[in-house]
């Protein structure tokens, strides 16, 4: 048994001993409330911590769950078996309804739009007349009864609430410790690079938002049963900021953080007399302190401490396995671009480019700064949409597809500046790119446990095989942020290859490398091409590129000014004038 699991069991055991043996009726009630808060925070971690979107609607989802339970229970006498699922479903439905317009928005737009939603929900319930009880809310909610069996307040209700909490924590841990959690990290750190390795960011964010609403609704329903009354307070802004403070202070990406944050902020104001009536003031101060001093929260601090005491997996436990590139393209040309154009404001970044590429070919792309090389790469990989023109890949039109779909079809790329997540282990950063191809990503895969055990070992082994092939096997267990530029390039190429692409686009792969590393990189790229992989290489380093490419395309001001073998390009007067003139002179 590993140590964190041991601590978790110890914590659970002491909570049980405290609840059964020592807690008074009042303390049992406080502990039950704390459980509800843990559940709410577990949900909030998914959208705020993992998806990295500052939702201000968690209070609204919580309150909505509470009201559904109260209205069904107090007005219609519905039992727990009916009201609890509905208390989860309604917030999820609301989240799904607003997710489409709202999740596209950049961070602060998203935050304020979700706050707007929360305010509308609050207004609706305060002004809901007798049905919602208006500003006073709904009193006299009967206790939990499941198919006629009544769960008394006190220890029985506490057990029910904490059983739900345990299930919620199990589910969240499943989701966020595995490869899907890694995909969330990629998405947070660099959404463009994430889409380039086939991660469907929109879908991940959508699931996280819906799940956060579901957890919020469940927490609200349980809290309503515990309190026996529901008032608009449950929907209010204070509910949200309490949740936010618990999440940030406990730690926003670790399951343990939800327990630490919620229990601490529930118990401190109970224990510290001078905090009486000032809990929110203290939450504000603690939230500020945590944001500045401990951005990963208490759980993050503990995890760092842990990592020092007990180092993780040893390299020899990951046995490399070779990854076979896909068979040669059945449809040629592999890539076909016709009359492609894209404008930014008044500037024509790409103004009618045609190009074809066959499997196994290495195409060099040259041109002065601002000539449109990176824009062309962005258009082919779907990060930028063309204004005009057609892009076909293996005969299929791809110019209207999303970047992640194009990546999954088999066009991989690297970026000019390193796009690796600094904190993530090299092996994991490569394995996660295998995940979308191996279809083990997302909530469905998590629920089928496809991202665990043998599946995960297979991904790791394939990732290790790629790293060894690129000569980066030795650093597989180091964090990406530690790598020198040369190794980081190799890891990025390994990660791109993990998609099993038919076409690989490299944006300035030699930049920042020592001369001695150039030959090595060129050899690796040639051997990949020999296996049938097509390569487009954008590069300023002419000796490197002209020695590598079979054909070169020269761009200037968004147009193709010359194309031919490296020897022809060297002699081309237009290329000399616009580009080589300065570099080769």
């Amino acid at each position: 048994m590993n140590a964190p699991r041991g601590v978790a069991l110890l914590g659970a055991a002491s909570l049980i001993i405290y609840a059964v043996g020592f807690a008074s009726a009042y303390e049992l009630r406080v502990l039950t409330f704390a459980g509800c808060q843990v559940l709410m925070v577990l949900g909030y971690q998914l959208i705020f911590g993992h998806a990295g979107a500052l939702s201000l609607a968690q209070g609204a989802f919580f309150g909505l769950g509470a009201y559904v339970t109260a209205i069904l229970g107090a007005r219609y006498g519905a039992g727990f078996a009916a009201s609890f699922p509905l208390s989860i479903l309604l917030p999820v439905a609301l989240a799904a309804l607003i997710a489409v317009p709202v999740l596209r928005l950049a961070s602060h737009y998203f935050a304020l739009a979700t706050l707007g939603l929360a305010q509308v929900v609050l207004l609706a319930f305060v002004n809901g007349g007798t049905w919602t009880g208006g500003a006073l809310g709904i009193p006299g909610l009967p206790g939990v009864s499941i198919f006629g069996w009544t769960v008394a307040r006190g220890l029985p209700l506490l057990s029910l609430v904490w059983a739900v909490v345990a299930f919620g924590a199990f589910l969240s841990g499943r989701m966020t410790n595995g490869i899907t959690g890694l995909a969330f990290t990629m998405l947070r750190e660099n959404p463009l690079a994430a889409s380039a390795i086939g991660i469907d960011g929109a879908r991940l964010r959508f699931s996280a938002f819906l799940l956060s609403a579901g957890y919020g609704g469940a927490a609200g329903a349980l809290e309503a049963h515990t309190a026996g009354v529901v008032s608009p307070e449950a929907l209010g802004f204070n509910q949200l900021v309490t949740c936010l403070a618990m999440t940030v202070i406990g730690g926003s990406t670790r399951v343990a953080g939800a327990f630490l944050g919620a229990l601490l902020l529930t118990y401190l104001p109970e224990r510290l007399r001078f905090l009486e009536g000032q809990a929110l003031l203290a939450y504000g101060a603690a939230l500020l302190a945590a944001v500045i001093l401990a951005p990963e929260g208490l759980a993050g601090l503990l995890a760092r401490l842990w990592a020092k005491l007990e180092p993780v997996v040893r390299k020899d436990q990951v046995r490399p396995s070779p990854l076979i590139l896909p068979p040669l393209g059945t449809r040629e040309p592999l890539l076909e671009v016709r009359a492609l154009a894209r404008r930014f404001g008044g500037i024509e970044a790409i103004a009618g480019v045609d190009l074809t590429l066959a499997s196994g070919e290495i195409l060099g792309l040259i041109g002065p700064n601002g000539s449109g090389k990176t824009t062309l790469a962005n258009l082919v990989t779907g990060l930028t949409k063309p204004d005009r023109g057609v892009i076909r890949f293996q005969g299929r039109r791809i110019d209207d597809l999303g970047a992640f779909e194009i990546a999954r079809l088999g066009i991989a790329r690297t970026f000019q500046t390193s796009a690796l997540p600094a904190e993530v282990m090299v092996l994991a950063a490569v394995a996660v790119a295998r995940a979308s191809e191996a279809r083990v990503l997302g909530t469905a895969a998590v629920l089928h446990a496809r991202d665990r055990g043998a599946h995960r070992r297979k991904l790791d082994a394939e990732a290790m095989g790629l790293l060894e092939r690129l000569g980066a096997g030795a650093v597989a267990l180091r964090p990406c942020g530690d790598l020198p530029p040369g190794l980081a390039r190799r890891v990025e190429i390994a990660r791109a290859l993990a998609l099993r692409p038919s076409l690989l686009i490299l944006d300035e792969p030699a930049a920042g490398l020592a001369e001695s590393e150039h030959t090595n990189l060129a050899d690796t790229l040639r051997s990949l091409a020999a296996e049938g992989l097509a390569l487009i290489v954008i590069e300023h380093n002419m000796p490197f590129l002209l020695g590598l490419a079979g054909r070169v395309l020269a761009l200037d001001a968004g147009r193709v000014i010359a194309t031919g073998t490296p020897a022809e390009i060297r002699r081309d007067p237009r290329v000399m004038a616009s580009y080589l003139g300065s570099a080769a002179a």
């Binding site: 990295g52 500052l54 607003i98 317009p101 709202v102 596209r104 928005l105 950049a106 961070s107 602060h108 737009y109 935050a111 304020l112 739009a113 706050l115 707007g116 939603l117 305010q119 509308v120 207004l123 609706a124 002004n127 802004f237 900021v241 936010l244 403070a245 940030v248 000032q278 929110l280 003031l281 939450y283 504000g284 101060a285 939230l287 500020l288 944001v291 500045i292 951005p295």
Partner: protein, 291 residues
Amino acid sequence: MITLAQLALNALSLGAAYALVALGFVLILNATGAVNFAQGDLVMAGGYLTAWFVVLLPLPGLVLLPLAMVATALLGLAALALAYFPLMRRPPSTVFVSTIAIGLILQNGAVRLFGPEPRVTPPVLGGGEVHWAGLTLSRQSISLIVVAAVLILGQRWLLARTRLGRQMRATAEDRTMAAALGIPVRAMIALTFALAAALAGAGGMLLGNQFFVTPTEGSALILKAYVAVVIGGWGSLEGAVAGALLVAAFETIVAALVSYTAAIALLYGVLVAILLLRPEGLFGEAAGRRA
């Protein structure tokens, strides 16, 4: 006719006060690239400070206004030192969270210091009504509009015509470039923050006479400022003023015809519709998406 004129005047005076709040929001957004969520709470603080000053010094509102602005500017600088400068290199959403914390502290600090009961700020130049061309108009509404107009024009003059203002704008546009040109970037950010907080304080003092000051009004105000800024175009100062006037007109008219609750609910509905159809705002986006 009379009610219509008074209604228009009410809308204009409410809009003038909202404009001060929205202007402060955009000034900080442009200078730091981050949302200051505590902007609404600074408005609330300005209201409470004026209500407190008038007890100590029973002077007309116009005299207390500069005091309130200076005091709120100091609060704004404290917020900057705690919630922005330590987090300058972190993503903008971190600052959003830290300013939520500042707002929480201001809000609950106000409850502790002044209690939960609403307070009233003194009128700018005494209450009562003036009769003009057969119309009866509130003196407070007229003086509010004049004061707000002077402050908005003053802020425009400062940014457009003075050397200091040019340095502030250069910092907002490109911080690295401004620093390379020898502009003291941190000082300019601090000055912008102080200016924005002072405008919020003035807004609080002006709003608090007719609408009272309550500890929790901040989050409603920040949402209205946000709606005004989204309508006017993210990052545009003129757009923020125009958006604030539109929000106030909408609120006043719908509240008169239906109810205040309906006005607010519809307002947020319009906001979602704008985000859906024209995410760049009605008048285009002045500052690119920074976050």
